[in-house]
């Protein structure tokens, strides 16, 4: 049984308000014992594998994008069996309400939420503002290890097609809208990695032809929460030029920043068909003979 959906003015304007919860809402839910009785599972997912251990929301469990969600050998996500085992070990059942939060404006939390969605987990939400907002508000943190009662999770195979694009899908998609969420320097091809991040070995710089450049962080306010519906519309309908009903693909470097944008397009603005291209630039920038545009112009689809 799902946990009640938060009602507030900001969320009500979004297409799918049930996908977000505020820090106030979560604090009240924790206060009422929602975690203790297993209806609600709070998951922290960060870039830094040790950050959870330095202090986390009481009762929350950690899921690491690299060690828990990625397959160790193939560049892919874990399969249904591994996901079921992971979820159960974290106290998550198929009908649990899962609230995910993390560092960097929920960058990795949105990525984890996207992976949960590949497995069709129905009720999975983001904590608006994530870890930083929770801490900035002086809310409770603990270093106590959570010991959840094992959940009951069936083996469900991933259904990638609705929300995940592969390289071939992107080639077939050319001509329809693409959103590049990387930094302007990565978009133009001036560099192939994030500013202040290590070089990850893309052989070519630039962007996929016709992609609009909307760096992911522009969807977030200074406190890490998502911008209002009006602001998001100005960004994606106005600046990027998307229209209602568009079929959209978002990409970045490895698919984590674009998960944040995927969430905004899918659940806050209500685009039905939005896919995250997780191969992203580390695949496209190394692939043989795929079209690339350099510079600030979007460019055109090659004939």
């Amino acid at each position: 049984m799902s946990y009640p959906v938060e009602q507030n003015e900001k969320f009500a304007a979004y297409a799918r308000p049930e996908r977000l919860v505020s820090t106030e809402w979560l604090a009240a839910a924790l206060e009422s014992g929602a975690v203790a009785d297993g209806k609600l599972v709070v998951v922290e997912s960060d870039e830094d594998v040790l950050l959870y251990e330095t202090g986390h929301i009481p009762g929350s469990v950690k899921i690491d994008w690299h060690t828990d969600l990625n397959d160790e050998v193939t560049r892919d996500y874990v399969d249904g069996t591994a996901f079921a085992a992971l979820a159960a070990s974290k106290g998550i059942s198929r009908d649990s309400t899962v609230v995910i939060y993390g560092d960097k404006s929920n960058w990795w939390a949105a990525y984890a939420l996207w992976v949960f969605t590949l497995f069709g987990h129905e009720d999975v939400r983001l904590l608006d503002g994530g870890r930083d907002k929770w801490i900035a508000e002086g809310r409770a943190l603990t270093t106590e290890t959570s010991a959840p009662v094992a959940g009951d999770y069936p083996v469900v195979e991933r259904n990638d097609a609705p929300i995940r694009a592969f390289k071939e899908d992107v080639l077939a998609h050319l001509g329809k809208p693409l959103i590049d969420v990387r930094s302007p320097e990565e978009y133009t091809g001036q560099r192939t990695h994030m500013p202040a991040y290590p070089e990850e070995g893309a052989l070519r710089g630039g962007h996929i032809p016709t992609a609009a450049s909307i760096p992911w962080a522009r969807a977030a306010a200074a406190d890490g929460t998502y911008r209002s519906r009006d602001e998001l519309e100005a960004l994606y309908l106005g600046e990027a030029g998307l229209s209602e009903g568009d079929d959209v693909v978002a990409y970045c470097r490895i698919g984590e920043r674009s998960s944040h944008t995927w969430f905004a397009l899918k659940y806050l603005l209500g685009f039905d068909t939005v896919r995250n291209y997780d191969g992203s630039w580390t695949e496209w920038g190394n692939a043989v003979r795929v079209p690339i545009v350099k510079g600030a112009e979007r460019g055109s689809v090659p004939a």
Partner: protein, 153 residues
């Protein structure tokens, strides 16, 4: 590669890591992140004296100083690091290098193999990308030590 070419202090840390399971290694790295000493005030007030290691995923600044030894033994190299608390993995590795190398001679530090971070057995848990940041941190220390010994000699 084995620990035989490492200074005793660093070899001991590597042995500690290698004796543990992967989750325990992460826990030990977390302890090192907590033990990383604060910068002395003279450096706190002069951030321009520190250099950023841009290969690290989180902001990491470091510098070295050389302390004269009167007893006729080699000069001691002192290491100073600055990394934010919200980057515990980066801090943890700085903590390992601090405890393993601080106070040693330039010669001992320069003899540490460049791929020493691989010996900690953390690559699977913390991603190869982050390991590269750690390797870059060691590389930066060695370059600074080499430059400073050239100046002195």
């Amino acid at each position: 590669m084995t620990t035989q070419h490492l200074p005793a202090s660093l070899a001991e840390i590597v042995d500690d890591f290698q004796a543990l399971t992967e989750p325990e290694r992460l826990q030990l790295l977390l302890e090192f992140s907590r033990e990383l000493p604060e910068l002395p005030d003279r450096l706190k007030n002069h951030p321009e004296l520190l250099e950023q290691v841009v290969e690290c995923q989180s902001p990491l600044f470091l510098t070295i100083e050389t302390e004269k030894n009167d007893a006729g033994t080699a000069d001691a190299v002192r290491l100073y690091f600055k990394a934010p608390p919200e980057a515990p993995t980066t801090r943890g590795f700085a903590g390992v290098l601090h405890e393993g190398l601080d106070g040693l001679s330039a010669e001992d530090i320069l003899a540490v193999p460049d791929d020493m971070p691989e010996l900690l057995g953390l690559t699977r848990a913390i991603t190869p990308l982050r390991m590269r940041g750690m390797t870059a941190m060691l590389g930066r220390i060695k370059r600074k030590v080499a430059a400073s010994s050239r100046q002195l000699s």
